[in-house]
Point group: C3
């Protein structure tokens, strides 16, 4: 008899695009409480909802290497702010304020995260270093994105 | 009869490498005109030519999520600069200058762009906030790149 | 006859994940020697070991487009720092210090690198512009990563 019809075509290979996690958020008003996570509630991007505006924390859903950056408007008081990973301050940014000299302070870092790790920003000393400022024409922002997902 | 020949091999997975868009540019001389797009004409990278040095605007050719960052040398005057997307100021950076205290101000953000969207930097108040400075040993820069192209 | 067996699954898409190169490092103590590469020895990430803490230099192993960023705590002296590529200063960041006004200065850029290219940070004038500061609660950092590997 005749040969059968050809088999079905194979499945496509794995896409590079299933691993995505990114957020970019801003402050709406100046920080008033030090020593707790800063809650950024102006959302520039948060499609995967891995950043939680009610806690101020980013929750890692995809293990891998992440880039984080932040930019702070320093006004009214000095600023001491840290990037925290799971209750440990990893990065320390200090900028002093002087009258009529609004400043900008920023930081960025690459961090490997496991699923469940949390990352946030927090003023790391008390009321005197709480000058993280924002209003509708002064931004203070926090951004993060997955650069390379875990392949091991 | 005999079984048919095996099916064709599946297609390769979607490649990450057809979707690229990035630019990194600097100022050559200080900004003299406020309230118009800042034209960065020192080119560090602009292979796809999606940034236009004659207008100062980045034009989105590939829909997706983009990262933008800028760094401003604050000298001679205060600086108020905004990142614009299609005539709307989305991000506001303010840094005050004082005599003998050159400063640096920076910002970064993730923005989802559709094809045709334009992004640029612009001083958002008048002559008094026009202290965006550059010469051959003082850089003010603007960078952007496609992080994740649209897959929906 | 019977239909043939299904074809083999396609090959994975050209993955973004075989081409990885990233580092993120910090200073442990303030810079004391100008005009030589700054050696950042606090390692946030350096899995591929393309950054060498003994020289302070990043060595390109994978040709492509890289993003570099740095954040400097300006304290005790003014800061003039440059990003170097193979002995040529490409990016210049200047921030002046004044008493009781710690500042933050930062820069970022995209650079195309060939295999063998080296990138580092260096104070570009003498002792008077050496105010790159760090201690255990003041970070100065240097980060780089491969954004798009060479496909040409
Ligand atoms: Ca200032
Ligand atoms: Ca300064
Ligand atoms: Ca300051």
């Amino acid at each position: 008899g005749f040969p059968g019809v050809p088999g079905r075509k194979g499945e496509p290979g794995e896409s590079a695009y299933v691993f995505r996690s990114a957020f970019s958020v801003g402050l709406e008003t100046r920080v008033t409480v030090p020593n707790v996570p800063i809650r950024f509630t102006k959302i520039f991007y948060n499609q995967q909802n891995h950043y939680d505006g009610t806690t101020g924390k980013f929750l890692c859903n995809i293990p891998g290497l992440y880039y984080f950056s932040y930019h702070i408007t320093v006004y009214l008081k000095d600023v001491k702010v840290s990037l925290y990973k799971n209750d440990k301050a990893l990065l320390f940014t200090h900028d002093q304020f002087q009258d009529r000299n609004v400043d900008q302070a920023s930081g960025s870092v690459l961090l490997y995260l496991d699923k469940g790790d949390q990352v946030w920003l927090q003023v790391y000393e008390g009321e005197n270093h709480n000058g993280v400022y924002a209003d509708n024409v002064h931004d203070s922002t926090f951004t993060g994105f997955l650069l390379y997902h875990n392949i091991e």
